[in-house]
């Protein structure tokens, strides 16, 4: 369980960057909302109408005790229940690589919300590439710290891979931000070679074309 929310000094940098994309009063669904840090921040500072879905029951209970509207569920099976276009933003933070069917999850997000915000770790980062090239073993990095046999990240991809998936789903990228270490490196051109090599992760703002 997490401590009282007022003890949480500040929002993680990638979550803060996502929060900046959300306008005041928006209707937001945070899929995989964890302990509710982002959702609570949005409800408090942006007065959003916020909901969450979270896999871990312990996290759900903590969120609800903090007054957040959160249900236990997972992105793969529960997004299908939601009606079309009822949210302004559907957020999926650092979770798409752990879903069973990322393409279907993306499709549902773009159906439920007018826009989707997705952040993900970049498997194309140079450290990952070097680790595999010279180590000859599945890379373990700070962002992806699991062994191959116990990782929940069953669908890792590079930024370039994800951009392809977005286009296959008929969506457009409104913004792309590169993540480096614990900070946000700013807007990048998602289909250029650079970020796919240099960024440890990325945040995408998407909408249906």
């Amino acid at each position: 369980m997490n401590g009282p929310s007022n003890l949480r000094a500040e929002l993680r940098a990638d979550l803060a960057a996502i929060a900046e994309m959300i306008p005041n009063g928006a209707r937001v669904l945070d899929v995989g909302c964890g302990d509710g840090a982002l959702l609570e921040h949005l409800v408090r500072t942006k007065k959003v109408d916020g909901r969450g879905i979270e896999l871990s029951q312990q996290n759900v209970n903590a969120c609800v005790a903090r007054g957040l509207a959160v249900v236990q569920g997972d992105a793969d099976s529960d997004l299908a229940e939601y009606p079309d276009q009822v949210f302004d933003f559907v957020i999926l933070s650092q979770t798409i690589q752990a879903t069973e069917k990322p393409s279907q999850v993306l499709e549902h997000m773009l159906r439920i919300g007018r826009q989707a915000v997705i952040s993900l770790p970049n498997f194309g980062h140079w450290r990952v590439r070097l680790a595999l090239l010279f180590g000859g073993r599945m890379p373990r990095t700070r962002a992806l710290g699991y062994n191959w046999y116990d990782t929940p990240n069953i669908h890792l991809c590079t930024i370039a891979d994800f951009v392809d998936l977005v286009r296959e789903n008929g969506a457009v990228i409104d913004r792309a931000l590169a993540l480096k270490g614990d900070s946000v490196a700013g807007d990048v051109r998602p289909d250029s070679w650079g970020p796919n090599f240099a960024a440890q992760g990325a945040i995408f703002l998407l909408r249906k074309n």
């Binding site: 109408d49 909901r51 249900v71 939601y82």
Partner: protein, 391 residues
């Protein structure tokens, strides 16, 4: 319409000093329209209140009781002398904080703790209603509660909270009067009574009706009481409120006041004497016909049926906030049934929270010391109250 200081109780009071609450008596000008097509008039609703209604009348919370509960949610029971049935949840500083909120709890229509039920006198015959009492439904119970609120001058509730059959009433409130309530907290319940649950109720009813002292329901006129049948009904029902794990943990195969098996049919095992005790104390405070009527009301409950089988339609465009709570070891109203409600609410993009609490205490968990349930209700109500501008 009149209000009386004390409801009329069927059973002698063992705690005559306890606050017996009040009753609103609805006269011929205010009949209760029932789902069965009949009307009930005159009728009374007995209730208790705790805390103070604020000037804006915006801090009222209605608590709905379960099958064998009553209005004495947070104070000494005048008939049994026992503490209220939900004192850990309701009271000063509790999750439903009576220092902050005005709490109302009413005995359901068909009950036997002062609200009109089958044991009351039918004014048209001068005799107890017995089986002439009309069948009531969960929706009828809620309709009567809404009339009580009208009588108390309360237009809008901050929340409706209830467990088990109380949760059914909370759901019915959301469906019937969505604009008269802000938040809805159904705990350990379902949007429909399952075949298994109807089956258990039927066992209980048959036990009552098989008791020769039941006299076709007319036992009051005969000066008898079907205590044996009602006790068996309670014993069978009580098993469904617990879990196999909790029974094993509490009783196992332990023997009661003996070193060895008796080779007789007297209670050898602790679980047997526990159930006997549950049955015996229950008949002292509950009316057998009321038990028949209220179990039937639960059996008839299927919220989706009123909406052509689409549960989500019961909550379409709902302005309410929902907090659904289930318990892992509750096999009477399992998590799957509670989740079905959450799914229906998601389907209409209603504002819903859903919490499942890990415990081995079965369905009765909602009445017990479950800190996670208290934290959930406290946090949820705080959020609702602050969204509503309540201090």
């Amino acid at each position: 319409m009149t209000e009386t200081a004390n409801p009329r109780f069927l059973r002698p009071l063992s705690a005559p000093g306890a606050d017996a609450g009040k009753a609103v008596n609805f006269g011929p000008d205010k009949p209760l329209m029932l789902d069965c097509g009949r009307t009930l008039s005159p009728f009374s609703i007995a209730y208790m209140t705790y805390g103070t209604l604020n000037a804006a009348k915006s801090n009222a919370i209605l608590i709905c009781h379960a099958l064998t509960g009553d209005q004495f949610v947070a104070s000494e029971h005048p008939v049994t002398g026992k503490p209220g049935w939900w004192t850990m949840m309701v009271g000063p500083g509790r999750p439903i904080d009576t220092d902050r909120f005005f709490v109302i709890c009413a005995n359901v229509i068909g009950g036997c703790m002062g609200s009109t039920g089958p044991a009351e006198i039918d004014p048209s015959t001068g005799k107890p209603y017995a089986l002439d009492f009309p069948l009531v439904t969960v929706r009828d119970m809620v309709r009567a509660q809404a009339m009580l609120l009208d009588a108390l001058g309360i237009e809008t509730l901050l929340a409706v909270v209830g467990g088990s059959m109380g949760g059914m009433q909370a759901l019915q409130w959301a469906a019937s009067f969505p604009t008269r309530v802000r938040a809805v907290v159904p705990i350990a319940c379902a949007a429909r009574h399952s075949a298994q649950n109807i089956a258990f109720h039927e066992v209980g009813r048959q036990a009552i009706m098989a008791d020769p002292d039941w006299k076709g329901g007319d036992y009051q006129s005969h000066g008898t009481r079907p205590s044996k049948g009602l006790a068996v009904a309670r014993m069978a029902a009580h098993i469904t409120y617990l879990s196999e794990a909790a029974l094993q943990r509490k009783f196992g195969r332990n023997l009661q006041n003996r070193e060895a098996l008796s080779f007789q049919f007297t209670p050898d095992f602790q679980i047997e004497s526990y159930l006997h005790h549950q049955g015996a104390t229950f008949v002292d405070r509950f009316d057998a016909n009321s038990y028949l009527y209220i179990t039937r009301a639960m059996d008839y409950f299927d919220l989706a049926e009123d909406y052509a089988g689409h549960l989500a339609d019961a909550f379409r465009d709902s302005p309410n906030r929902f907090c659904i709570i289930s318990f892992t070891s509750d096999w009477l109203f399992p998590t799957a049934e509670n989740k079905r409600i959450a799914h229906a609410l998601n389907a209409v993009a209603a504002k819903v929270s859903f919490v499942e609490i890990k415990t081995d205490k079965g369905h009765d968990s909602f009445l017990l010391d479950e800190p996670e349930m208290f934290d959930t209700v406290r946090g949820f109500l705080n959020a609702v109250a602050s969204a509503d501008g309540l201090a």
